[in-house]
């Protein structure tokens, strides 16, 4: 078609030139003739006439140019006229079939809306670029522990300096850790802030400078250096009223006056969205220690070096360190791009979700396609007349396109509105990991996506009836009448039935997937967490060093700290409604920290690696509901004067003591201080519900108080824990009014959160598959009803020839089931392939779980049968005489 237009333009161009030439020649020749009759010679006359023209060439050129402009303008006018006409015609057609148009528009709006909602999450969380300069050059440099099989561990400060010194793959490296501090103000409650202690060049490495003020200088990042702090943008806005004069002011952090030197960029949520302030880590190679492992290392790769190459180098460096230092035994290295770490967890979940919603959209489109094909068949006559009256194929196509794009346009506007609501709904259900990353909103990119989807759908649906029309036998249409005229489109409708089978196949894939994911959720929910989650309240606080000195020179003798804890437990247990209370470094289902340790019954120089460590008050096991397997628990009277004790869990006993008796052996950590293993308790899940409980040791808080940091109070209540949270907080404040209390929650909530991701994707995929199934059933029903209506003639004859009602019923049902079975088989095969892709999301169930597939097949077969029942009943009710008489 474009070729014809181009040829047309060239043609008209030549025609214009010849017209202008002819017109001017006429004028010249007439005038010359006139002058000749007056007596001039031809040559003279010609010369005179040409003179009066002036620059003939210029005149001719001007005339041609204006003519060309004229033709162009006419062309535009014609085009807008026809478009205007088509638009008006489309309006009329849509209005004349309100029911049909509404069904199509609503179906598409739902499909487009759902897809847009999911895409807005995918876009906000996965596709938006990270707010760091050249983010793909940034990597984490984790350590890992071969003994416990972990993948990501913190390093020690010595490790950091060694990494930095020995590595050639990185342009720069920084380290950081997170802790919490109390911000005390003259007004209001003490506020707990999440603080990141960082090396001064972290901001430079990330490539993000402060928005006001300055970043930490190297002189401030030295041991015993000045107290300075950078505020996060969020904290600056919420607690300091975005006052630009805040730079230079002093605030009290954990009782220490600290100068504010600047405010970080908005959106710089490093290391996490919760980070409120940055402070200098104030370490140096001289003060660095090989233990403990408490810092995270981040580096920017040298240009041209890949993360994989850096990884290889770091693994080698880790091996070298392992050989040189006993503290580094079993410590490997793992270089991971920052974006992988931040997003890797949720990537699979979100893409699976996106795949599911696209499938639903596809099914909705198939339904609409079927509706259009049906209508196209019904309008066959109308189209034939149009064509016979001379409407070119192009015009027909344009008409269908305009109609289709109009409906799709309306549908997508509705869809966007739905998407805004839908996104909120999805986010409400989404697990914290999704929410913690990126801003999710319906923005320009998302709207662009919606536009793209709508245009693709609109154009495809416009082409569909056009394709149908092109295969019409015009003569047959115009000659024959209604019913038999359908022969042109075929009552067999192979295309439509194929489409329905495809719909069914897609629904099967969705149903199987949803089934597997829900099974995963159920499996996870039935995992025994190892502790009693009911009626357990928890909250965190942090004792500032200024008021609770922790001098490592006299450790474990920290009287202020120990006294506070003793008194707190006593007072809390005195609250009516409280059964027991305990204080621990980490609550159940929290990964916490590990320590290197050694078992003294075994050769002294063998460092065993690292074990998860919990520092708890003696009441922990009761409060949390850990069962005692053998030996005894800690005494409430244990302190620094009584023998040092430690309790281990079953996993530790099995791993490190084999079949032998662990009781009576001694364990040392944080130095060569042997502690007797007095008891073995049951395993509590530490790293979430998926992973088996690791070997764990529990030390007595009064014998081995932990380094400064936040700590958890756990309270066992007689009934609903939330009712007592206010009293417990009051109690803490009765001991120290300046203490910030945070992370108040119940263990039931924590347990629920542990399955949040599985619940999210399980529920959403089930909803989607339900919708898909419903649409597919509608599809079956639609096609069969249509077939029944068209084949009344045939049915009438059959019945007249002796077919019973049952035979007719059987005929229709077998048609419907044929479609269903084909769809089912294809779907099951496809499901095997598709479910393999998200195997990492499953727990306790294989991608090819026979029960799930069988259940889906059964479900689909049954409902499909019901869906065919209605049209089949209608068919069997046909009075044979009516169709025979009618035609």
């Amino acid at each position: 078609m474009p070729w014809r237009r181009i040829r047309g333009i060239l043609d008209s161009s030549r025609r214009i030139d010849s017209d202008v030439e002819q017109e001017l020649s006429f004028h010249i020749e007439e005038k010359v003739a006139g002058l000749v009759t007056e007596g001039r010679s031809e040559a003279e006359a010609h010369r005179e006439v040409m003179e009066s023209f002036g620059d003939y060439r210029a005149v001719e050129a001007a005339c041609r140019e204006y003519s060309r402009q004229r033709v162009e303008r006419q062309g535009w006018k014609m085009m807008s006229d026809t478009w205007g006409h088509d638009i008006r015609l489309a309006f009329r057609t849509i209005r004349r079939n309100p029911g049909f148009s509404a069904v199509v528009a609503i179906t598409l709006a739902l499909g487009i809306g759902a897809t847009t909602a999911v895409f807005s999450i995918v876009n906000g969380v996965l596709l938006e670029p990270l707010p760091y300069a050249d983010a793909d050059e940034l990597t984490f440099i984790w350590q890992n522990d071969r003994a416990t099989g972990t993948l990501r561990e913190s390093a020690s400060t010595s490790d950091f300096y060694d990494f930095r010194e020995r590595s050639r793959s990185f342009r720069a490296m920084a380290m950081y850790s997170q802790t919490s501090v109390n911000l005390t103000r003259s007004d209001g409650e003490p506020q707990r802030l999440t603080a990141a202690v960082v090396t001064h060049d972290l901001g430079v490495i990330l490539g993000v400078g402060p928005q006001i003020g300055r970043s930490i200088s190297p002189e401030e990042d030295v041991p015993n250096g000045p107290n300075v702090v950078l505020l996060s943008d969020r904290l600056w806005r919420t607690s300091f009223e975005a006052d630009p004069g805040v730079v230079g002011r002093t605030v009290s952090l954990d009782g220490v006056p600290t100068a504010i030197i600047g405010v970080l960029q908005p959106g710089l949520d490093f290391p996490s969205k919760a980070t409120d302030i940055w402070m200098p880590i104030q370490q140096s190679p001289a003060t660095a220690a090989r233990n403990p492992h408490w810092v995270t290392v981040v580096g920017r790769l040298e240009p041209g070096i890949s993360a994989a190459r850096a990884h290889t180098e770091m693994v080698q460096i880790a091996q070298d360190l392992e050989a040189e230092f006993p503290a580094n035994v079993n410590r490997g290295a793992f270089v991971e791009p920052v974006s992988d770490f931040l997003r890797g967890d949720v990537r699979m979940t979100l893409w699976v979700l996106f795949g599911a919603v696209l499938t639903v959209l596809l099914i909705a489109c198939v339904n609409v396609a079927n509706l259009l094909l049906a209508r196209g068949a019904a309008r066959a006559r109308e189209t034939a007349i149009y064509a016979a009256l001379g409407a070119g194929y192009g015009r027909l196509l344009r008409r269908f396109l305009v109609e289709s794009l109009m409906i799709t346009g309306v549908a997508s506007i509705g869809g966007v509105a739905l998407a805004v609501v839908g996104t909120e709904a999805l986010l409400a259900l989404a697990p914290a990991q999704v929410l913690a990353l990126g801003e999710v909103r319906v923005d320009r990119v998302v709207l662009g996506f919606t536009l793209l989807v709508s245009v693709v759908i609109g154009v495809s649906f416009g082409l569909l009836p056009a394709l149908q029309a092109s295969r019409l036998d015009l003569q047959a249409q115009l000659k024959e009448g209604r019913v038999s005229g359908e022969r042109g489109t075929g009552s067999k409708m192979p295309l439509r039935r194929l489409l329905v089978a495809a719909e069914i196949a897609m629904s099967v894939v969705l149903l199987v997937s949803a089934g597997l994911l829900m099974t995963t959720l159920r499996n996870l929910q039935s995992v025994d967490p190892g502790f009693r989650a009911a009626n357990l309240l928890r909250m965190d606080y942090n004792l500032p060093v200024s008021r609770y000195p922790r001098d490592f020179a006299v450790w474990p003798d920290w009287p202020e700290v120990n006294q506070f804890h003793h008194e707190l437990v006593r007072r809390v247990e005195a609250i009516p409604g409280v059964e027991s209370a305990t204080i621990t470094t980490n609550h159940p289902l929290q990964s916490g920290f590990t320590n290197s340790f050694s078992i003294n019954s075994q050769p002294a120089d063998r460092n065993q690696g690292e074990m998860t460590t919990r520092i708890v008050t003696p009441g922990y096991f009761e409060t949390v509901g850990l069962e005692l397997v053998s030996g005894r628990l800690m005494d409430r009277t244990d302190d620094t004067q009584t023998p040092l004790v430690v309790v281990i869990n079953r996993a530790a006993a099995e791993r490190y003591f084999g079949g032998g008796d662990a009781l009576g052996s001694t364990l040392s950590f944080w130095g060569p201080i042997p502690r007797e293993v007095i008891g073995i308790v049951g395993n509590e899940r530490i790293h979430g519900l998926h992973a088996e409980a690791p070997p764990t040791m529990y030390a007595n808080m009064y014998q081995a108080p932990p380094a400064p940091g936040s700590i958890t109070l756990m309270v066992e209540t007689a009934s609903d824990p939330t009712g007592l949270s206010a009293s417990v907080r009051e109690t803490i404040w009765s001991l120290d009014a300046d203490l910030a209390v945070f992370n108040v929650s119940t263990m039931e909530q924590t347990l629920r959160d542990a399955t949040a991701r599985e619940r999210f994707i399980g529920v959403v995929s089930t909803v989607f598959s339900g919708v898909a199934l419903f649409l597919a059933l509608l599809g079956i029903h639609g096609v069969l009803s249509y077939a029944v209506a068209q084949r009344r003639h045939e049915v009438g004859i059959r019945m007249a020839l002796g077919a019973t009602r049952r035979d007719v019923l059987g005929l229709i049902v077998s048609q419907g089931m044929a479609m269903t079975i084909v769809g089912l088989v294809i779907g099951l095969v496809a499901a095997v392939a598709v479910t393999r892709l998200f195997g990492s999301l499953l727990f306790g169930v294989e991608p090819f779980d026979v029960r799930a597939y069988g259940a889906v097949a059964l479900l689909l077969g049954t409902v499909a049968l019901l869906a065919t029942a209605l049209p089949a009943r209608k068919a069997s009710r046909i009075d044979p005489m009516t169709p025979l008489r009618g035609e």
Binding site: F26, S52, Y66
Partner: protein, 115 residues
Amino acid sequence: MGKVESDTLYGTLNLLILKTLAEGPLHGLAISRQIHASTSDKLKIEEGALYPALHRLERDELVGGRWGISETRRRAKFYKLTKKGRSHLQREMKRWLGHASAVAAVLDVVPAWSD
């Protein structure tokens, strides 16, 4: 006899052409002769100005072009005033007359058409 330069009286040229066509369709040569005749030979339009002006008027849909047979039995392009052209003519005539009267007043001259 004054020669009308195309650049000085551009708008006026359009006016003359449109007015000439108000009686009926003519081809380019006839338009030129008619203007010459109705101004008692005082105004002669350059062909170099006339034809571009005609094509411009046709582009702007003030006149319509159509091929026909001339009085000398030859193929020629005839121009006809369109409705749009007719109303444009009325408007421009009024404006031109108003403008000219003002100039005449300044020159302290009484124009022939004033009453």
